[in-house]
Amino acid sequence: MKSGAAALLLAAGFAGSAAADTIKVGVIAPFSGPFAQAGKNFKAGVEAYVATHGDTVAGHKVEFVYRDLDGPDPGKAKSVAQDLIIKEKVQYLGGVYLTPSAFAIAPMLEEANVPLVVFNAATSSITQKSPLIVRTSFTLWQTTVPLAKQAAKDGKKKIIIAVTDYGPGTDAEAAFRKTFEAAGGQIVESIKMPLATTDFGPYLQRAKDSGAEALFAFLPSGAPTVGFVKAYAESGLKEKGVALISTGDLTEEAGLPAIGDAALGMRTSFHYSVAHDSALNRAFVAAASKAIGNADELSFPAVAAYDGVYVITKMIEATGGKQDAKKAVQAVLGMVWESPRGPVKIDPETRHVTQTIYLREVVKDGGKLINKELSSVPDQPDWGLAK
């Protein structure tokens, strides 16, 4: 028995030294430009994983190579990915914040024999663009459907929708409308706001005049959400009893200090809250806060990156360090594990993460605004692909 274990260890040691000993993982993230906050979170997630699990997988050292991709530029996305695959010889790709970048990289994966684990880009159709794409973040269909169901359950009949006029906004609008109307509710109006909008007063005035009982909104996290929530608080809609409900993008932790007390009482649905109460999450938050430097900047892209690295390590274990993208992806289909956000699973059909969606409320906890989880809806797939 004892000698058997020793032999096994020895064999593992040999296997480890026989295959090439550093496996490179390319991470594509926005480190500059308007989404730099997300890039920092990706990196914090990766570093938190390495800090808690070490950088050796099945005897192979794993090295992360970061590349900056600052905006939704498909041409640049392609050349960054090519650079990582050809010059850096990475075996795995991770990261990608925006949908257009994921679309641009998808066609080259099969030829390069490289899987891509998406840490954020949240348009449903991304995983359909290549069989080598796995996603550990969320989609707007996934986060919006439970919210729309809850709104119907709360007895809301008439709702007005306001979303930013681009891909994810369109997804959020479609998801809410379909679910809410199926539950017997009525969408009184749907407003698409241009990406560059700074003054939301007019839209909120319209919401006021529409006779809706609640306002469902989606805006990409960052400057616009801050302006929107503040304008809502000032519009008098709250006093009128017209609640603002949204996906968690509007109350993302990194933006909450800028919104301030105007966010208090807002109800949102999302897959992750920094305040999620579990030992695993507390350990993750501690490690990721250390990696990012300022705990206030920690937000949802970090947890997707952390889980994404875990998925990549499983791929490395399954292929014994050899470059075999198909086998790597095959190995993680149906994989179930406990993430800092709660129980998650890679859906074997869609290669997208199935997870619990939480309904939360913004409250003050020790002087700090947090997203406090009120209830949870387990096992939510990507409703955009589930049809």
């Binding site: 500059s32 007063g201 000032e234 519009s235 008098g236 800028a258």
Partner: protein
């Protein structure tokens, strides 16, 4: 009726913020003939410094804001001496555009590196927080304060340029620098003072408008077109023109987005095209 009044108030507040930030740009374009694309960058620096002074150092709002404005000017003055001075006069527009956009990118990079990419709130003092009931709608107090500040800036600038010795010299130096210098006006100093004033106004506007245009690293690029639109339809160098233009842009933008949200900013740009077509030099261009 209430809706119309509501839109009107929103439009006025938005317009006044645009005015406060754009007027410094208008002054530089009209008087020194520099297309200063770095103007938004100065507004952003002011915002960052004010946020830092209040949140990190803990200074009260009333102290932090003037200090932030002053610090922005102190940071910008060497740029005037080393760079801007060479491009006054409007003879080389390409050089102006390339240099000032370069400064903008540099400022964006530095702000991102120093302060990080998150939005930097500028906490308002108790007196400016909350809302007041105007009878037909509620209105954030800070928006009313912004309207007041915009009007005060307009009046102050008009007095300065039209009624003081400084204004007389400035106008002389702008119209005929050679003759002004021959008469003993030290044009270099005059330009330096005007540059400082433009930067101070940008910083003030950036701070005052931060509730509507949050301070973050890409601020300088994001709102540049809007500021340029205000100056171009108002007429460079004209205070009244910038005021009128800011209110027109605020009104058209706000009403357009209320009435036909699906069309986005279509009406704003339609109005710009019409105005520039009818008055190529702007609504109230400075006559030379």
């Amino acid at each position: 009726m209430d809706t119309a009044l509501g839109i009107g108030i929103d439009a006025l507040a938005y317009g006044m913020i645009l005015f406060t930030i754009s007027i410094g740009l208008s002054v530089m374009m009209g008087l020194m003939r520099v297309v200063n694309l770095a103007h938004g960058a100065f507004a952003m620096v002011g915002g960052y410094l004010a946020s830092y002074a209040i949140r990190q150092i803990g200074l009260p709002y009333g102290v932090a804001v003037p200090l932030a404005i002053l610090a922005t000017v102190v940071i910008a003055l060497p740029l005037e001496v080393l760079l801007f001075r060479r491009i006054y006069g409007g003879a080389e527009p390409l050089k102006q555009v390339l240099m000032t956009i370069g400064i903008t990118f540099a400022v964006i990079g530095v702000m991102n590196a120093v302060f990080g990419p998150t939005i930097k709130p500028i906490p308002l003092p108790e007196a400016l927080r909350g809302t007041v009931d105007l009878g037909f709608r509620t209105m954030a107090i800070h928006r009313l304060a912004v309207i007041g500040a915009g009007l005060a800036v307009a009046l102050g600038l008009w007095l300065l340029i039209e009624k003081t010795a400084f204004g007389v010299r400035l106008r002389a130096a702008v119209d005929n620098p050679g003759m002004a210098a021959a008469l003993g006006i030290r044009t270099e100093r005059l330009y330096l003072a005007t540059f400082a004033l433009a930067v101070a106004l940008a910083a003030f506007g950036g701070i005052a408008g931060a509730e509507l245009m949050p301070i973050e690293p890409t601020y300088a690029l994001k709102y540049m077109v809007t500021f340029l639109v205000v100056v171009s339809i108002g007429g460079a160098g004209s205070i009244g023109g910038a005021l009128a233009a800011a209110i027109v842009v605020g009104l058209v933008d706000t009403a357009g987005r209320y009435l036909m949200p699906g069309l986005g900013t279509f009406f704003t740009y339609l109005a710009v095209i019409l105005i520039v077509h009818l008055a190529p030099n702007g609504l109230l261009a400075r006559t030379r």
